[in-house]
Amino acid sequence: MTNTAVLEMRGVCKAFDGLLALDHVDFRLGAGEIHGLLGGNGAGKTTLMNILYGLYRADAGEIILRGQKVDIRSPKDAIEHHIGMVHQHFLQVESFTVAENIVPGTPIKNILRLDLKEAAARIAALGEKFGLSIDPAARIEDLSMGARQRVEILKALYRGAQILILDEPTTNLTPQEVDSLFHIVRAMVREGMSVVFITHKLREVLAVCDRITVLRDGRNVLTLRRDDATEEEFVRAMVGENLDIRRSIIFSGRATADTPLSPRLKKEPNSPHSQGAGEAISGRTPVLQVEGLNVLEGGVPVVRQCSFNVRSAEIFGIAGVAGNGQLPLAEVVMGIRPATQGRVLVFGQDVAAIGTAGLLAMGVAYVPEDRLRDGFLPGANVAQNLILGSHRDAPYARGGFLDWKTIFRVSHDLIAQYNIRTAGPAETGGNLSGGNIQRVLIARAFARPARLLVAHNPTRGLDIPSTEFVYSKLLERKAHGDATLLISEDLDELLLLSDRIGVIYKGEIVGVLERGAFDRQALGRLMSGVRT
């Protein structure tokens, strides 16, 4: 299967602002192969593929396509060479239909009368062939993340892609959507295509890839057939010596979380002084109290009758399938949007009265779910991003003036401590990779002692060592007596860290489980709305 190479990249080098992103990287893609490109944040995976797709120019190295040396200067060249790429963040016009998003950029017969009927038929046929069910007339804004991604894949197929690059394709997908993506990828390979699958999630590459190349710090570490190595070998290649696997939280936790324990389910009553928690925790002071919360969004209830408490030295997890009210819940707790009914108290103070700025001043930290939309200033530099939300307080500010010397000193420390790959505090934030942006958000939230942390999918897009680091920080907080509201779509994460897990379904907390009574099956049932 992998005898003949359709594509070879040799000795590729690329530096950004003096920082070496790729150091003589070789990459060989076989015909009809699914090739996993694995590595941590900033390992150079996306940079390498952006060079192949003509978005960047390599400083050195060559690309050999089907035995011939090629020069790819722009995505247009790449498309002419039948290379397609699906980015992590989609570039789509939300108010346009699927067909209207796919067709622009391809030859159009009659420019004056844009006839999309023929195109729609072709799109539908392509979808049929590869199992990408999508209605060409549907509007993008009405589609789920999984469907939007299928549109991006169709975009590449419509342009005749034979080599398809998928950049972190599973980031925003539900487990079911991930499965269907794998089916699609396998169908494509059966039709003779080759696929490059960029990810930092080992489990995914092991599930779907034929061969795996691991990059670390911009260098090749190894390339192996999937069956020729164990999971541990790949983990070691990815993380190097940075992580002691046997002592890590992530790998230690797996066993305990999977052990089925007797299910003891309790629905928390809608009272502010709930006794639903375990004895040890219930005795402690509540840091966060959510009381009978209702939120309407355009007249539709998105949070319904939510009541729970988070106490000091507790990690309270919220489990649920994405889009079940987690975002509005987090935003009401942080004072970003108002509650329609009910109230939220932090240290006994009404959030509606003190507002977000007041909460931040009290020492509440927030890691928003959508890092690009809600948590990052792409045009500002890394230091400016690191102080967002703490910018009014000492040591960053004094008497209305910012102390840049201190800010840069702290930023240098945070960049080193949180392993943010950047040229320095003065680098423009927009240059950072997705995982590094997440590290900035994490560093910002943990930089100051916070007695309450609201973290929404805090490890999304992070590699194993970084995730490990976040987990250790969260547990440190708990040991220190601080409270955490951990909203996550990663059930493993919640099982590993939480003292209690509340399950949210259609905006309602349908059940709360205590540690010791955690049961994956029961949680799964609650997440799909089945009550016992």
Binding site: L19, A357, L360, R373, D374, H391, A397, G424
Partner: protein, 351 residues
């Protein structure tokens, strides 16, 4: 990675190359645009070298040329800041000339109505009247944006036209100077005029005011919490809001501040240069201010330097028109090309 290596690979290139890397694109853009403009000038049959010398040299050959340049520099600097301050918050103030005109009207009105006041009282009042009215002219679109989400580009542009009519009315009906053949008011009291730094050629103290304000704006945007919040709002209003910054209020504030800056340019024109309200006094400062702001990429430290460069070009242009008969519009082409090349250098650097 050990510390030494970190320094060599990450820290050193950033700081050593930093300043050169920032200035180099500007230098290249200016050279390239002058070269391109040279082609036009040559194609029209004029002496290219002579044209260059006139454009770039007029400001520095005679004291008069230099003072002329400084007099151009003051309104250009303030107009550019009136554009860049709201731009930091992601808002476009295209009403600089209207705000300048109402500022000039305010300064003139005070200078005529309170002509009996002594200079230490009247002069500050004249200046502040311009600042205040300019700020009010910025408050209107700011408030419409805050309260009703009216697009500020539209409202600031439209208020320019209102200000033209106001000026016309005042210069022809209220305090018209019947001796002038053009809509003009009578002069303001001498006590309301800015003192001269140099008598001949005449240079008024307005430039000190403008430079002090520019320094203040730079400190505000780069060193204060308020300036940081302005930049955060401009960079990502949604993220700023999530982290407790009231972007709507800041946008309102930024437009008021922009109006005040443009208003100040109006009062300096009245108190320092014209001493009376004249129709057309806004020249094309608005457009040039926007170009300066864009070439400086909104960086308030770069604005004064770019503004000075544009002032040199402007003075050179009128000299070129007078002595070589080359149309002054040629300089517009140079300015536009500089902007295009600077923007282009961004695209090239990113790849």
């Amino acid at each position: 990675m050990n510390q030494q290596l970190v320094f060599e690979r990450q820290v050193k290139p950033f700081f050593v190359g930093g300043l050169i890397r920032k200035i180099l694109p500007y230098v290249l853009a200016i050279i390239a645009s002058l070269a391109a403009a040279g082609l036009f000038i040559a194609a029209m049959g004029f002496d290219v070298w002579h044209a260059y010398v006139t454009i770039l040299g007029t400001s520095f050959r005679t004291p008069n040329g230099f003072v002329q340049t400084l007099l151009k520099f003051v309104p250009l600097l303030l107009q550019a800041l009136a554009f860049t301050v709201p731009l930091a918050a992601g808002k476009f103030n295209i009403g600089g000339e209207g705000q300048m005109i109402v500022g000039a009207i305010g300064a003139t009105a005070i200078g005529i109505l309170l002509k009996d006041l002594p200079a230490p009282v009247l002069l500050p009042l004249v200046i502040l009247a311009g600042v205040g009215l300019g700020a009010f002219w910025g408050l209107i679109p700011g408030w419409l944006l805050y309260r009703y989400r009216v697009n500020e580009i539209l409202s600031t542009v439209l208020l320019n036209f209102v200000s033209f009519q106001l000026l016309n009315y005042i210069a022809t009906e209220v305090w018209a100077d019947s001796a002038a053949g053009h809509p003009t008011t009578v002069p303001i009291a001498a006590a309301g005029q800015l003192p001269m730094l140099i008598g001949n050629p005449p240079l008024n103290a307005g430039i000190i005011l403008a430079l002090a304000v520019a320094a203040g704006i730079y400190i505000f945007t780069s060193r204060t919490v308020g300036g940081y919040e302005l930049i955060a709002t401009g960079a990502n209003p949604r993220a700023a809001q999530v982290f407790g910054i009231d972007g709507r209020k800041l946008s309102l504030l930024a437009l008021v501040l922009g109006g005040a800056l443009a208003g100040l340019s109006g009062s300096i024109e009245i108190a320092g240069v014209q001493h009376r309200l004249i129709e057309g006094m806004q020249s094309n400062y608005l457009l040039l201010g926007i170009i300066i702001g864009l070439i400086a990429k909104g960086n308030n430290l770069a604005v004064p330097f770019v503004a000075f460069f544009i002032a040199v070009l402007e003075v050179g242009a009128s000299a070129m028109q007078r002595t070589l008969m080359i149309p002054g519009e040629m300089v517009f082409i140079v300015e536009a090309l500089v902007l295009l090349f600077v923007l282009l250098s961004d695209v090239i650097r990113r790849r």
